[in-house]
């Protein structure tokens, strides 16, 4: 399955991925209207360690703790993609408690949200990857380490 991976070496720390993600998931067609002067809730975020920056988003684990731990049965795996049913989520954040990567966060309504690979929003492919100016985020198939 194709997943989103980050290449620390190329990340400039420009945070464009966060804006592109928030826009792609906003359901709006105008980026300015979607993001300007509003708190944004991206599903990818940039972290910094000394002078290194890198993007973190859902790893779509093969055996995800969030799915097993969700108290509402709102998280499931559909064709390898870990998805949150926002209408069932009550915002208890047990998924935040267990995600080993810190990749799940509450969204604007309090329901938890995370990267779902832009497969169902208007972007159709990961917006963070598409908009990364330095190809520091890629969307590709990688083999499991033996």
């Amino acid at each position: 399955m194709k997943r989103v991976y980050v290449n620390e070496k190329w990340c400039l720390g420009c945070h464009l991925c966060e804006y592109n993600c928030a826009f792609a998931n906003s359901g709006m067609t105008d980026m300015v209207k979607a993001l300007k002067d509003k708190p944004i809730y991206p599903r990818v975020h940039i972290e910094q360690s000394d002078d290194i920056t890198y993007a973190v988003s859902c790893r779509h684990c093969k055996d995800p703790l969030c799915v097993k731990s969700c108290i509402a049965g709102a998280i499931s795996i559909v064709d390898g993609v870990v998805k949150i049913d926002k209408t069932k989520c009550v915002g208890c954040l047990t998924c935040v408690l267990v995600c080993p990567y810190g990749a799940v966060r509450p969204g604007p309504t309090g329901a938890a949200q995370k990267c779902e690979l832009c497969l169902e929003n208007s972007c159709g492919e990961p917006a963070c990857v598409k908009g990364c100016p330095n190809n520091a985020i890629v969307y590709e198939e990688r083999q499991e380490e033996k």
Partner: protein, 412 residues
């Protein structure tokens, strides 16, 4: 072909069904459910009262869950396990099993209380039916007295606060949420709850009930219309005990979820399994544990090989928008380093000892908390972790670059 029977129909049972089906697609599964509902999310009963979910959305799995998994669901109370015959008796019927999973959950513990019989509107708060019954008794001006300031009592209080006149919570402990919070964090949470209108009587207990009045040990009196008993829960162990299984505070299970009886497994709130944070067995009555234990039991029942060796206590709970996550175990002052950071309306406390993070509590911004939970679960040696960064923020920046690149670079 084997025949599988599951006693209980909560989240552990759902996990067991899915665990069995991950290995064996065909063998017969019978689920014996004392509650007349398909599996639902028990912790959501307070969210239901608060109007944050509906009875339909509380279904833990899709409508076709049993059909899709070829599981027969029977609404009855399991009465007896006959090991010699390999049978479970329920109602006037019996069913054979090759492998059995006991996922019987727990029951509210109601302590003997002087005058309890005189109280008309009294409830426990554990099941969907409890929640619906309580809802019927609530009126706009009801004065509600909740006995127990633990997870169940306080979630109940949150769920009903806006729907009633007043909510008073009494607890024998000197702090709220005493099973998951230390003194410092409990004080922060109590202050928040009081700011929303809850009243507390701590280090106190009900000495006597007189119809609509509770007299406390301290001599104080509280008048009420509705009484909720949320003192605690007890694992349902009787069936297992009668069948000869070793039982302590829960049904004793090994890391493969097997009881001390052959072909009999157990999972969820009725069990006492291995807690790696204290290196001993303990009842870990939390939902993630119930699902994982159920799944693990199911895999082993179906002939697979699964074990859980890294279970730890962990909780995520929020009240009126203020979130709290906690995990692991805490130690007494002086036994290690406790790092504390206070933020606007919140607090973070990290328990560090022998170069390990043993436990943590965060109230407020819980972003990334799972990374702390991870290093407790994995017993990560902190020599490979930047301690200053760990204290500062729960991000992957605390790890060595090569460790982090491995985490983010492959299929996990």
């Amino acid at each position: 072909m084997s025949k599988f029977v599951i006693i209980g129909n909560g989240v552990a049972a759902a996990g067991c069904i899915e665990g069995i089906r991950s290995i064996d697609k065909e063998s017969e599964i019978t689920v014996i459910s004392a509650e007349k509902h398909p599996v639902y999310s028990r912790p959501l009963i307070s969210y239901y009262l608060e109007g944050k979910t509906t009875l339909e959305k509380m279904n833990y799995r899709s409508e076709d869950f049993y059909e899709k998994n070829k599981a027969e669901l029977v609404y009855a109370s399991a009465e007896k396990i006959d090991l010699k015959k390999g049978e479970v008796a329920f109602g006037s019927k019996k069913t054979k099993f090759d492998k059995l999973c006991i996922a019987a959950g727990s029951s509210p513990f109601v302590p003997p209380m002087d005058g309890l019989d005189s109280v008309k509107e009294k409830f426990t708060f554990m099941t969907m039916d409890d929640s619906l019954a309580l809802e019927k008794a609530l009126k706009k001006d009801s004065r509600v007295l909740i006995v127990g300031a633990g997870l169940i009592g306080l979630k109940c209080a949150e769920g009903i606060l806006e729907r009633v006149g007043s909510v008073t919570v009494v607890d024998l402990a000197d702090r709220v949420l005493s099973s998951i919070l230390d003194n410092e964090c409990a004080a922060v949470m109590q202050k928040h709850l009081e700011s929303k209108g809850m009243k507390f009587l701590l280090s106190d207990s009900v000495a006597k009930l007189e119809t609509d009045k509770a007299v406390m040990k301290s001599g104080k009196t509280v008048e009420f219309d509705v009484l909720v008993l949320a003192v605690g829960v007890r694992a349902n162990t009787q069936l297992a005990k009668d069948a000869g299984a070793e039982v302590n505070r829960g049904i004793i299970i090994d890391t493969k979820m097997q009881t001390t009886l052959e072909n009999v497994y157990a999972a969820g709130d009725c069990t006492e399994g291995y807690d790696s944070s204290i290196d001993a067995n303990r009842v870990l009555a939390i939902l993630p544990n119930a699902y994982m234990q159920g799944f693990c039991a199911g895999v082993n029942m179906a002939g697979g090989d699964s074990s859980i060796t890294n279970a730890i206590p962990m909780n995520s709970i929020g009240f009126f928008g203020l979130h709290c996550t906690s995990a692991g175990s805490y130690f007494a002052q002086g036994e290690g380093e406790v790092y504390e950071e206070k933020s606007c309306g919140g607090i973070k406390r990290l328990y560090i000892k022998d170069n390990k993070l043993t436990g943590y509590i965060i109230i407020g911004d819980v972003t990334g908390a799972g990374i702390y939970t991870r290093i407790i679960r994995e017993k990560t040696d902190l020599s490979g972790v930047n301690i200053d960064k760990l204290k500062n923020n729960a991000t992957l920046a605390m790890f060595l670059p090569e460790t982090r690149r491995k985490m983010l670079g492959g299929v996990v």
